[in-house]
Amino acid sequence: MPALGADMESGTVIEWLVSPGDVVRRGDIIAVVDTDKAAIDVECFESGVIERLLVAPGGTVAVGAPLAVIANDAAPDVVPVARPPVRAEAPPASAVRSAPAPPAVPVPGRVRSPLVRREAERAGLDLATVPGTGPGGAVTRADVRRAADHGRAITPYARRLAAERGLDLAALGSSGADGVIRARDVPPAAPPAVVSRSAPVGASRHATATLMARAAREIPHYYLTTEIDLGTALDWIKGRNRELPVANRLLPAAALLRASVLALRAVPELNGHWRDGGFVPGEGVQLGVAVSLRGGGLAVPVIRDAHELGVDALMARLLEVGTSARAGRLRSSEASGATATVTNLGELGVDTVSGVIHPPQVALIGFGAVRARPWAVGTDVLVRPVVTASLAADHRASDGAMGARLLHDLTRHLQRPEELR
Protein backbone atom coordinates (compact mmCIF):
# COMPACT_ATOMS: atom_id res chain seq x y z
CA MET A 1 0.00 0.00 0.00
CA PRO A 2 1.77 3.11 -1.17
CA ALA A 3 1.47 6.40 0.71
CA LEU A 4 -0.83 8.33 -1.60
CA GLY A 5 -0.72 11.54 0.33
CA ALA A 6 0.96 13.05 3.34
CA ASP A 7 -0.57 11.68 6.54
CA MET A 8 -2.25 8.75 4.80
CA GLU A 9 -2.23 5.86 7.23
CA SER A 10 -4.17 3.16 5.44
CA GLY A 11 -5.99 2.50 2.20
CA THR A 12 -8.80 0.28 0.97
CA VAL A 13 -8.45 -1.79 -2.18
CA ILE A 14 -11.55 -1.06 -4.25
CA GLU A 15 -10.65 -3.09 -7.26
CA TRP A 16 -7.88 -5.15 -8.79
CA LEU A 17 -7.24 -4.54 -12.48
CA VAL A 18 -4.93 -7.54 -12.77
CA SER A 19 -5.18 -11.21 -11.90
CA PRO A 20 -2.57 -13.80 -11.00
CA GLY A 21 -0.67 -14.74 -14.12
CA ASP A 22 -0.91 -11.32 -15.72
CA VAL A 23 2.28 -9.73 -16.98
CA VAL A 24 2.72 -6.25 -15.59
CA ARG A 25 5.18 -3.51 -16.30
CA ARG A 26 6.47 -0.82 -14.03
CA GLY A 27 3.98 2.06 -14.31
CA ASP A 28 0.94 -0.07 -15.22
CA ILE A 29 -2.17 0.70 -13.24
CA ILE A 30 -2.87 -2.46 -11.29
CA ALA A 31 -5.42 -1.51 -8.66
CA VAL A 32 -7.77 1.21 -7.49
CA VAL A 33 -7.36 2.27 -3.89
CA ASP A 34 -9.67 4.45 -1.84
CA THR A 35 -8.02 6.96 0.46
CA ASP A 36 -9.65 9.58 2.64
CA LYS A 37 -9.47 11.96 -0.29
CA ALA A 38 -10.20 10.10 -3.49
CA ALA A 39 -10.12 6.85 -5.43
CA ILE A 40 -6.62 6.57 -6.85
CA ASP A 41 -5.20 4.38 -9.61
CA VAL A 42 -2.20 2.60 -8.16
CA GLU A 43 0.76 2.08 -10.44
CA CYS A 44 3.04 -0.91 -10.24
CA PHE A 45 6.60 -0.41 -8.94
CA GLU A 46 7.99 -3.53 -10.59
CA SER A 47 7.79 -5.46 -13.81
CA GLY A 48 7.02 -9.17 -13.75
CA VAL A 49 4.18 -11.62 -13.44
CA ILE A 50 1.48 -11.25 -10.81
CA GLU A 51 1.82 -14.31 -8.63
CA ARG A 52 -0.69 -13.62 -5.91
CA LEU A 53 -2.99 -10.85 -4.74
CA LEU A 54 -2.65 -10.46 -0.98
CA VAL A 55 -5.49 -8.06 -0.25
CA ALA A 56 -9.03 -8.78 -1.41
CA PRO A 57 -11.22 -5.96 -2.76
CA GLY A 58 -12.76 -4.20 0.21
CA GLY A 59 -9.74 -4.96 2.39
CA THR A 60 -8.10 -2.09 4.25
CA VAL A 61 -4.40 -2.27 5.06
CA ALA A 62 -1.82 0.07 6.54
CA VAL A 63 0.58 2.04 4.36
CA GLY A 64 3.60 -0.17 3.81
CA ALA A 65 1.72 -3.47 3.83
CA PRO A 66 2.29 -5.65 0.73
CA LEU A 67 -0.60 -5.78 -1.75
CA ALA A 68 0.55 -8.43 -4.17
CA VAL A 69 3.41 -10.76 -5.00
CA ILE A 70 5.10 -10.13 -8.34
CA ALA A 71 7.50 -12.69 -9.72
CA ASN A 72 10.37 -11.39 -11.77
CA ASP A 73 13.56 -13.16 -12.90
CA ALA A 74 12.13 -16.40 -11.57
CA ALA A 75 12.48 -15.17 -7.98
CA PRO A 76 9.18 -14.04 -6.45
CA ASP A 77 9.26 -10.61 -4.87
CA VAL A 78 6.80 -9.04 -2.55
CA VAL A 79 5.84 -5.67 -4.01
CA PRO A 80 7.78 -3.17 -1.98
CA VAL A 81 5.53 -0.54 -0.65
CA ALA A 82 7.07 2.14 1.48
CA ARG A 83 8.78 3.58 -1.59
CA PRO A 84 7.83 6.87 -3.14
CA PRO A 85 5.48 6.43 -6.07
CA VAL A 86 7.17 5.57 -9.30
CA ARG A 87 7.54 8.22 -11.94
CA ALA A 88 6.13 6.54 -14.94
CA GLU A 89 4.79 7.39 -18.29
CA ALA A 90 1.38 6.04 -19.15
CA PRO A 91 1.92 2.53 -20.46
CA PRO A 92 1.31 1.98 -24.14
CA ALA A 93 -2.04 0.41 -24.86
CA SER A 94 -0.39 -2.90 -25.65
CA ALA A 95 1.04 -3.07 -22.13
CA VAL A 96 -2.38 -3.02 -20.58
CA ARG A 97 -3.02 -6.11 -18.55
CA SER A 98 -4.84 -9.06 -19.97
CA ALA A 99 -8.01 -10.33 -18.40
CA PRO A 100 -8.77 -13.99 -17.87
CA ALA A 101 -10.58 -15.09 -20.99
CA PRO A 102 -13.53 -17.42 -20.71
CA PRO A 103 -12.60 -20.93 -21.77
CA ALA A 104 -12.99 -21.57 -25.49
CA VAL A 105 -15.29 -24.54 -25.01
CA PRO A 106 -18.00 -23.91 -22.46
CA VAL A 107 -17.94 -26.79 -20.03
CA PRO A 108 -20.79 -26.80 -17.54
CA GLY A 109 -19.06 -26.54 -14.18
CA ARG A 110 -19.69 -27.70 -10.69
CA VAL A 111 -21.01 -25.27 -8.13
CA ARG A 112 -19.86 -25.31 -4.54
CA SER A 113 -20.70 -21.91 -3.26
CA PRO A 114 -24.21 -20.99 -2.05
CA LEU A 115 -23.28 -17.39 -2.82
CA VAL A 116 -22.72 -18.32 -6.45
CA ARG A 117 -26.05 -20.14 -6.56
CA ARG A 118 -27.87 -17.14 -5.19
CA GLU A 119 -26.13 -14.85 -7.64
CA ALA A 120 -27.09 -17.12 -10.56
CA GLU A 121 -30.68 -17.27 -9.36
CA ARG A 122 -30.85 -13.52 -9.14
CA ALA A 123 -29.49 -13.19 -12.67
CA GLY A 124 -31.97 -15.80 -13.88
CA LEU A 125 -29.22 -18.10 -15.16
CA ASP A 126 -29.22 -21.86 -15.47
CA LEU A 127 -26.00 -22.88 -13.74
CA ALA A 128 -25.65 -25.94 -15.97
CA THR A 129 -25.00 -23.63 -18.89
CA VAL A 130 -22.36 -21.51 -17.16
CA PRO A 131 -18.74 -22.43 -17.94
CA GLY A 132 -16.58 -22.73 -14.80
CA THR A 133 -13.08 -21.34 -14.57
CA GLY A 134 -12.44 -22.06 -10.87
CA PRO A 135 -10.37 -24.92 -9.43
CA GLY A 136 -11.58 -28.22 -10.91
CA GLY A 137 -13.92 -26.38 -13.28
CA ALA A 138 -15.93 -24.90 -10.43
CA VAL A 139 -18.26 -22.08 -11.36
CA THR A 140 -17.16 -18.93 -9.60
CA ARG A 141 -18.98 -15.73 -8.87
CA ALA A 142 -17.04 -14.07 -11.68
CA ASP A 143 -18.20 -16.77 -14.10
CA VAL A 144 -21.80 -16.12 -13.18
CA ARG A 145 -21.38 -12.42 -13.61
CA ARG A 146 -19.67 -12.85 -16.95
CA ALA A 147 -22.50 -15.08 -18.11
CA ALA A 148 -25.06 -12.59 -16.82
CA ASP A 149 -23.24 -9.90 -18.79
CA HIS A 150 -23.43 -12.00 -21.95
CA GLY A 151 -19.81 -13.03 -21.87
CA ARG A 152 -18.46 -9.54 -21.38
CA ALA A 153 -15.94 -9.07 -18.61
CA ILE A 154 -16.66 -6.12 -16.36
CA THR A 155 -14.45 -5.19 -13.44
CA PRO A 156 -16.18 -5.02 -10.05
CA TYR A 157 -15.39 -1.33 -9.66
CA ALA A 158 -16.83 -0.51 -13.10
CA ARG A 159 -19.94 -2.49 -12.13
CA ARG A 160 -20.30 -0.48 -8.93
CA LEU A 161 -19.83 2.83 -10.74
CA ALA A 162 -22.40 1.89 -13.35
CA ALA A 163 -24.88 0.92 -10.64
CA GLU A 164 -24.29 4.16 -8.75
CA ARG A 165 -24.73 6.18 -11.92
CA GLY A 166 -27.83 4.29 -12.94
CA LEU A 167 -26.29 3.06 -16.20
CA ASP A 168 -27.17 -0.05 -18.15
CA LEU A 169 -24.16 -2.36 -18.34
CA ALA A 170 -25.24 -3.67 -21.72
CA ALA A 171 -24.83 -0.17 -23.15
CA LEU A 172 -21.18 0.13 -22.13
CA GLY A 173 -18.28 -0.54 -24.45
CA SER A 174 -14.66 -1.28 -23.63
CA SER A 175 -11.78 1.02 -24.52
CA GLY A 176 -9.22 -1.74 -24.05
CA ALA A 177 -7.98 -4.20 -26.63
CA ASP A 178 -9.01 -7.08 -24.35
CA GLY A 179 -12.67 -6.06 -24.33
CA VAL A 180 -12.80 -5.75 -20.55
CA ILE A 181 -15.06 -2.94 -19.35
CA ARG A 182 -13.23 -0.93 -16.75
CA ALA A 183 -14.06 2.04 -14.57
CA ARG A 184 -12.76 4.42 -17.21
CA ASP A 185 -15.32 3.07 -19.68
CA VAL A 186 -18.19 4.10 -17.44
CA PRO A 187 -19.35 7.59 -18.48
CA PRO A 188 -19.00 10.14 -15.70
CA ALA A 189 -21.98 11.22 -13.69
CA ALA A 190 -22.53 14.84 -12.77
CA PRO A 191 -19.49 15.99 -10.78
CA PRO A 192 -21.27 16.48 -7.44
CA ALA A 193 -22.15 12.78 -7.48
CA VAL A 194 -18.55 11.88 -8.30
CA VAL A 195 -17.24 13.94 -5.42
CA SER A 196 -19.60 12.34 -2.96
CA ARG A 197 -18.60 8.90 -4.22
CA SER A 198 -14.84 9.08 -4.15
CA ALA A 199 -14.21 11.82 -1.66
CA PRO A 200 -16.87 12.16 0.96
CA VAL A 201 -16.64 15.79 2.00
CA GLY A 202 -16.19 14.74 5.60
CA ALA A 203 -13.20 12.50 4.90
CA SER A 204 -11.55 14.95 2.52
CA ARG A 205 -12.00 17.78 4.98
CA HIS A 206 -10.56 15.60 7.67
CA ALA A 207 -7.46 14.80 5.63
CA THR A 208 -6.88 18.48 4.85
CA ALA A 209 -7.50 19.41 8.48
CA THR A 210 -4.95 16.90 9.76
CA LEU A 211 -2.28 18.04 7.32
CA MET A 212 -2.84 21.76 7.87
CA ALA A 213 -2.93 21.41 11.66
CA ARG A 214 0.40 19.63 11.45
CA ALA A 215 1.80 22.40 9.26
CA ALA A 216 0.69 25.08 11.71
CA ARG A 217 2.03 23.12 14.68
CA GLU A 218 5.40 22.20 13.26
CA ILE A 219 6.43 24.68 10.60
CA PRO A 220 7.75 28.13 11.54
CA HIS A 221 6.48 29.92 8.43
CA TYR A 222 7.83 33.17 7.08
CA TYR A 223 6.15 35.10 4.27
CA LEU A 224 7.48 37.30 1.47
CA THR A 225 5.59 38.99 -1.33
CA THR A 226 6.49 40.88 -4.45
CA GLU A 227 4.52 42.57 -7.22
CA ILE A 228 5.34 41.57 -10.78
CA ASP A 229 4.50 43.40 -14.01
CA LEU A 230 3.10 40.63 -16.22
CA GLY A 231 2.62 42.79 -19.31
CA THR A 232 5.51 41.31 -21.29
CA ALA A 233 4.59 37.73 -20.37
CA LEU A 234 0.92 38.21 -21.26
CA ASP A 235 1.78 39.78 -24.62
CA TRP A 236 4.07 36.89 -25.37
CA ILE A 237 1.34 34.36 -24.46
CA LYS A 238 -1.18 36.21 -26.60
CA GLY A 239 1.17 36.15 -29.57
CA ARG A 240 1.76 32.43 -29.22
CA ASN A 241 -1.92 31.66 -28.77
CA ARG A 242 -2.77 33.30 -32.09
CA GLU A 243 -0.69 30.59 -33.76
CA LEU A 244 -1.67 27.62 -31.59
CA PRO A 245 -4.75 25.43 -32.05
CA VAL A 246 -7.45 26.47 -29.59
CA ALA A 247 -7.03 23.32 -27.50
CA ASN A 248 -3.29 24.01 -27.02
CA ARG A 249 -3.64 27.61 -25.92
CA LEU A 250 -1.51 28.74 -23.03
CA LEU A 251 -3.07 30.15 -19.91
CA PRO A 252 -1.19 32.71 -17.81
CA ALA A 253 -1.11 29.99 -15.12
CA ALA A 254 1.25 27.94 -17.31
CA ALA A 255 3.74 30.83 -17.44
CA LEU A 256 3.47 31.31 -13.68
CA LEU A 257 4.09 27.58 -13.10
CA ARG A 258 7.01 27.50 -15.51
CA ALA A 259 8.63 30.54 -13.87
CA SER A 260 8.09 28.93 -10.45
CA VAL A 261 9.80 25.73 -11.59
CA LEU A 262 12.79 27.66 -12.95
CA ALA A 263 13.04 29.62 -9.69
CA LEU A 264 12.90 26.42 -7.63
CA ARG A 265 15.75 25.06 -9.75
CA ALA A 266 17.75 28.22 -9.13
CA VAL A 267 17.13 28.06 -5.36
CA PRO A 268 17.14 24.31 -4.63
CA GLU A 269 17.11 24.99 -0.88
CA LEU A 270 13.36 25.61 -1.21
CA ASN A 271 12.60 22.52 -3.27
CA GLY A 272 12.45 19.37 -1.17
CA HIS A 273 11.36 17.95 2.17
CA TRP A 274 12.08 18.59 5.84
CA ARG A 275 12.57 15.17 7.38
CA ASP A 276 13.89 14.10 10.77
CA GLY A 277 15.34 17.48 11.61
CA GLY A 278 17.07 18.08 8.28
CA PHE A 279 16.43 19.26 4.74
CA VAL A 280 16.39 16.67 1.97
CA PRO A 281 16.64 18.33 -1.45
CA GLY A 282 14.12 17.16 -4.04
CA GLU A 283 15.16 15.09 -7.02
CA GLY A 284 14.02 17.38 -9.76
CA VAL A 285 10.93 19.52 -9.28
CA GLN A 286 7.80 17.52 -8.47
CA LEU A 287 5.33 20.35 -8.59
CA GLY A 288 2.15 20.27 -6.52
CA VAL A 289 -0.59 22.42 -8.02
CA ALA A 290 -3.51 23.36 -5.80
CA VAL A 291 -6.84 22.81 -7.59
CA SER A 292 -10.09 23.82 -5.97
CA LEU A 293 -12.83 21.27 -6.48
CA ARG A 294 -16.32 22.10 -7.58
CA GLY A 295 -18.58 21.74 -4.61
CA GLY A 296 -15.76 22.59 -2.20
CA GLY A 297 -12.52 21.04 -1.15
CA LEU A 298 -8.99 21.09 -2.42
CA ALA A 299 -6.85 18.68 -4.38
CA VAL A 300 -3.14 19.06 -4.97
CA PRO A 301 -2.19 16.88 -7.94
CA VAL A 302 1.52 16.58 -8.67
CA ILE A 303 3.12 17.33 -12.02
CA ARG A 304 6.03 14.90 -12.14
CA ASP A 305 9.48 16.06 -13.27
CA ALA A 306 8.14 19.51 -13.99
CA HIS A 307 11.71 20.77 -14.54
CA GLU A 308 11.85 18.75 -17.74
CA LEU A 309 8.76 20.40 -19.20
CA GLY A 310 8.68 23.55 -21.28
CA VAL A 311 5.75 25.89 -20.95
CA ASP A 312 3.63 24.06 -23.57
CA ALA A 313 4.14 20.64 -22.01
CA LEU A 314 3.50 22.10 -18.57
CA MET A 315 0.23 23.57 -19.82
CA ALA A 316 -0.84 20.20 -21.21
CA ARG A 317 -0.02 18.45 -17.92
CA LEU A 318 -1.84 21.13 -15.95
CA LEU A 319 -4.98 20.44 -17.98
CA GLU A 320 -4.62 16.69 -17.47
CA VAL A 321 -4.04 16.69 -13.73
CA GLY A 322 -6.65 19.40 -13.19
CA THR A 323 -9.24 17.29 -14.98
CA SER A 324 -8.28 14.07 -13.16
CA ALA A 325 -8.26 15.81 -9.80
CA ARG A 326 -11.73 17.17 -10.37
CA ALA A 327 -13.02 13.80 -11.47
CA GLY A 328 -11.55 12.35 -8.26
CA ARG A 329 -9.35 10.02 -10.29
CA LEU A 330 -5.63 10.56 -9.91
CA ARG A 331 -2.84 8.11 -10.64
CA SER A 332 -0.72 7.32 -7.59
CA SER A 333 2.27 9.14 -9.08
CA GLU A 334 0.10 12.25 -9.39
CA ALA A 335 -1.28 12.08 -5.89
CA SER A 336 1.75 12.64 -3.71
CA GLY A 337 5.46 13.29 -3.56
CA ALA A 338 5.45 17.00 -4.41
CA THR A 339 8.69 18.82 -3.57
CA ALA A 340 7.01 22.25 -3.65
CA THR A 341 3.50 23.56 -4.27
CA VAL A 342 2.02 26.43 -6.24
CA THR A 343 -1.40 27.85 -5.49
CA ASN A 344 -3.15 30.20 -7.86
CA LEU A 345 -5.88 31.75 -5.75
CA GLY A 346 -5.99 34.70 -8.12
CA GLU A 347 -8.57 32.61 -9.96
CA LEU A 348 -10.93 33.41 -7.12
CA GLY A 349 -10.23 37.11 -7.33
CA VAL A 350 -8.04 37.58 -4.25
CA ASP A 351 -4.96 39.79 -4.45
CA THR A 352 -2.51 38.06 -2.14
CA VAL A 353 -2.06 34.53 -0.82
CA SER A 354 -0.31 33.87 2.49
CA GLY A 355 -0.38 30.12 2.24
CA VAL A 356 0.18 27.19 4.54
CA ILE A 357 3.03 24.89 3.52
CA HIS A 358 2.13 21.25 2.87
CA PRO A 359 4.45 19.21 5.08
CA PRO A 360 6.98 17.76 4.56
CA GLN A 361 7.56 20.40 1.86
CA VAL A 362 9.34 23.62 2.80
CA ALA A 363 7.82 26.17 0.42
CA LEU A 364 4.55 27.24 -1.12
CA ILE A 365 4.37 29.79 -3.91
CA GLY A 366 1.12 31.72 -4.29
CA PHE A 367 -0.24 33.97 -7.00
CA GLY A 368 -3.06 36.48 -6.60
CA ALA A 369 -5.28 37.87 -9.35
CA VAL A 370 -3.72 39.65 -12.32
CA ARG A 371 -5.10 43.18 -12.25
CA ALA A 372 -4.55 46.39 -14.15
CA ARG A 373 -2.70 48.70 -11.75
CA PRO A 374 -0.76 51.94 -11.83
CA TRP A 375 2.89 51.05 -12.28
CA ALA A 376 5.87 53.39 -12.15
CA VAL A 377 8.29 53.05 -15.06
CA GLY A 378 11.11 55.57 -14.69
CA THR A 379 9.31 58.82 -14.01
CA ASP A 380 6.08 57.76 -15.73
CA VAL A 381 3.09 56.01 -14.28
CA LEU A 382 1.63 53.42 -16.64
CA VAL A 383 -1.30 51.04 -16.27
CA ARG A 384 0.08 47.49 -16.34
CA PRO A 385 -1.28 43.99 -15.57
CA VAL A 386 0.24 43.22 -12.17
CA VAL A 387 0.26 40.06 -10.05
CA THR A 388 1.33 39.66 -6.45
CA ALA A 389 3.53 36.60 -6.01
CA SER A 390 4.03 35.31 -2.49
CA LEU A 391 6.25 32.76 -0.86
CA ALA A 392 5.51 30.91 2.35
CA ALA A 393 8.68 29.16 3.44
CA ASP A 394 9.85 26.99 6.32
CA HIS A 395 12.29 28.96 8.48
CA ARG A 396 13.92 25.74 9.68
CA ALA A 397 15.07 25.03 6.13
CA SER A 398 15.78 28.51 4.77
CA ASP A 399 16.17 32.16 5.69
CA GLY A 400 14.49 35.24 4.30
CA ALA A 401 17.38 36.02 1.97
CA MET A 402 16.97 32.65 0.29
CA GLY A 403 13.25 33.23 -0.13
CA ALA A 404 13.91 36.68 -1.57
CA ARG A 405 16.23 35.10 -4.16
CA LEU A 406 13.47 32.78 -5.25
CA LEU A 407 10.96 35.58 -5.76
CA HIS A 408 13.60 37.66 -7.53
CA ASP A 409 14.39 34.83 -9.91
CA LEU A 410 10.69 34.21 -10.54
CA THR A 411 10.21 37.88 -11.44
CA ARG A 412 13.16 37.85 -13.81
CA HIS A 413 11.81 34.84 -15.74
CA LEU A 414 8.37 36.40 -16.11
CA GLN A 415 9.97 39.48 -17.60
CA ARG A 416 11.85 37.43 -20.17
CA PRO A 417 9.08 35.11 -21.27
CA GLU A 418 11.06 33.65 -24.17
CA GLU A 419 13.07 31.88 -21.42
CA LEU A 420 9.90 30.03 -20.39
CA ARG A 421 9.74 27.87 -23.48
Binding site: P191, P192, R242, L251, R294
Partner: protein, 87 residues
Protein backbone atom coordinates in the same frame (compact mmCIF):
# COMPACT_ATOMS: atom_id res chain seq x y z
CA UNK B 1 -22.35 23.72 -38.73
CA UNK B 2 -22.05 25.10 -42.22
CA UNK B 3 -24.74 27.76 -41.96
CA UNK B 4 -24.98 30.89 -39.88
CA UNK B 5 -26.14 30.08 -36.38
CA UNK B 6 -29.35 31.38 -34.90
CA UNK B 7 -29.36 32.76 -31.40
CA UNK B 8 -31.13 29.75 -29.92
CA UNK B 9 -28.73 27.34 -31.67
CA UNK B 10 -25.77 29.28 -30.33
CA UNK B 11 -27.11 29.28 -26.78
CA UNK B 12 -27.89 25.56 -27.00
CA UNK B 13 -24.33 24.77 -28.14
CA UNK B 14 -22.78 26.77 -25.31
CA UNK B 15 -25.11 25.16 -22.76
CA UNK B 16 -24.23 21.71 -24.05
CA UNK B 17 -20.53 22.47 -23.71
CA UNK B 18 -21.08 23.82 -20.21
CA UNK B 19 -22.96 20.66 -19.27
CA UNK B 20 -19.74 18.68 -19.78
CA UNK B 21 -17.76 21.11 -17.64
CA UNK B 22 -20.02 22.34 -14.85
CA UNK B 23 -23.26 20.36 -14.83
CA UNK B 24 -25.82 20.84 -12.10
CA UNK B 25 -28.67 23.00 -10.91
CA UNK B 26 -26.66 26.22 -11.30
CA UNK B 27 -26.38 25.57 -15.04
CA UNK B 28 -30.03 24.62 -15.41
CA UNK B 29 -31.06 27.84 -13.70
CA UNK B 30 -28.54 29.98 -15.59
CA UNK B 31 -30.02 33.16 -17.10
CA UNK B 32 -28.64 34.51 -20.38
CA UNK B 33 -27.23 37.65 -18.79
CA UNK B 34 -25.64 35.96 -15.76
CA UNK B 35 -21.85 35.98 -15.41
CA UNK B 36 -20.70 32.46 -16.30
CA UNK B 37 -17.56 32.41 -14.19
CA UNK B 38 -19.41 33.60 -11.13
CA UNK B 39 -22.61 31.62 -11.51
CA UNK B 40 -20.89 28.32 -12.37
CA UNK B 41 -17.59 28.84 -10.56
CA UNK B 42 -15.53 28.45 -13.74
CA UNK B 43 -11.79 28.97 -13.51
CA UNK B 44 -9.43 29.63 -16.39
CA UNK B 45 -8.96 25.90 -17.10
CA UNK B 46 -12.75 25.50 -17.34
CA UNK B 47 -13.06 28.54 -19.54
CA UNK B 48 -10.40 27.22 -21.90
CA UNK B 49 -12.27 23.89 -22.05
CA UNK B 50 -15.47 25.77 -22.90
CA UNK B 51 -13.81 27.76 -25.69
CA UNK B 52 -12.19 24.59 -27.04
CA UNK B 53 -15.47 22.67 -27.10
CA UNK B 54 -17.52 25.43 -28.69
CA UNK B 55 -14.78 25.96 -31.30
CA UNK B 56 -14.77 22.26 -32.14
CA UNK B 57 -18.53 22.00 -32.25
CA UNK B 58 -19.08 25.06 -34.45
CA UNK B 59 -15.90 24.92 -36.53
CA UNK B 60 -15.34 28.58 -35.68
CA UNK B 61 -12.09 29.72 -34.13
CA UNK B 62 -12.68 31.89 -31.07
CA UNK B 63 -9.85 34.34 -30.48
CA UNK B 64 -8.61 35.43 -27.08
CA UNK B 65 -9.40 39.02 -27.97
CA UNK B 66 -13.09 38.01 -27.92
CA UNK B 67 -12.97 36.63 -24.37
CA UNK B 68 -14.14 39.91 -22.83
CA UNK B 69 -17.47 39.60 -24.67
CA UNK B 70 -17.99 36.03 -23.53
CA UNK B 71 -18.88 36.63 -19.92
CA UNK B 72 -22.50 35.47 -20.30
CA UNK B 73 -24.69 33.46 -22.67
CA UNK B 74 -25.93 36.54 -24.54
CA UNK B 75 -22.35 37.55 -25.23
CA UNK B 76 -21.63 34.08 -26.61
CA UNK B 77 -24.76 34.12 -28.76
CA UNK B 78 -23.98 37.59 -30.10
CA UNK B 79 -20.49 36.55 -31.13
CA UNK B 80 -21.39 33.14 -32.58
CA UNK B 81 -24.34 34.42 -34.63
CA UNK B 82 -22.15 37.16 -36.11
CA UNK B 83 -19.46 34.74 -37.23
CA UNK B 84 -19.53 33.50 -40.81
CA UNK B 85 -19.92 29.73 -41.22
CA UNK B 86 -16.61 27.88 -41.65
CA UNK B 87 -15.50 27.50 -45.27
Amino acid sequence: MTTTLTESEAVAIVREALATIAPGPALEALAVDEDLREALGLDSLDFLALVTRVSERTGRRIEEDDYDRLENLSGWAEMLTAMPPPA
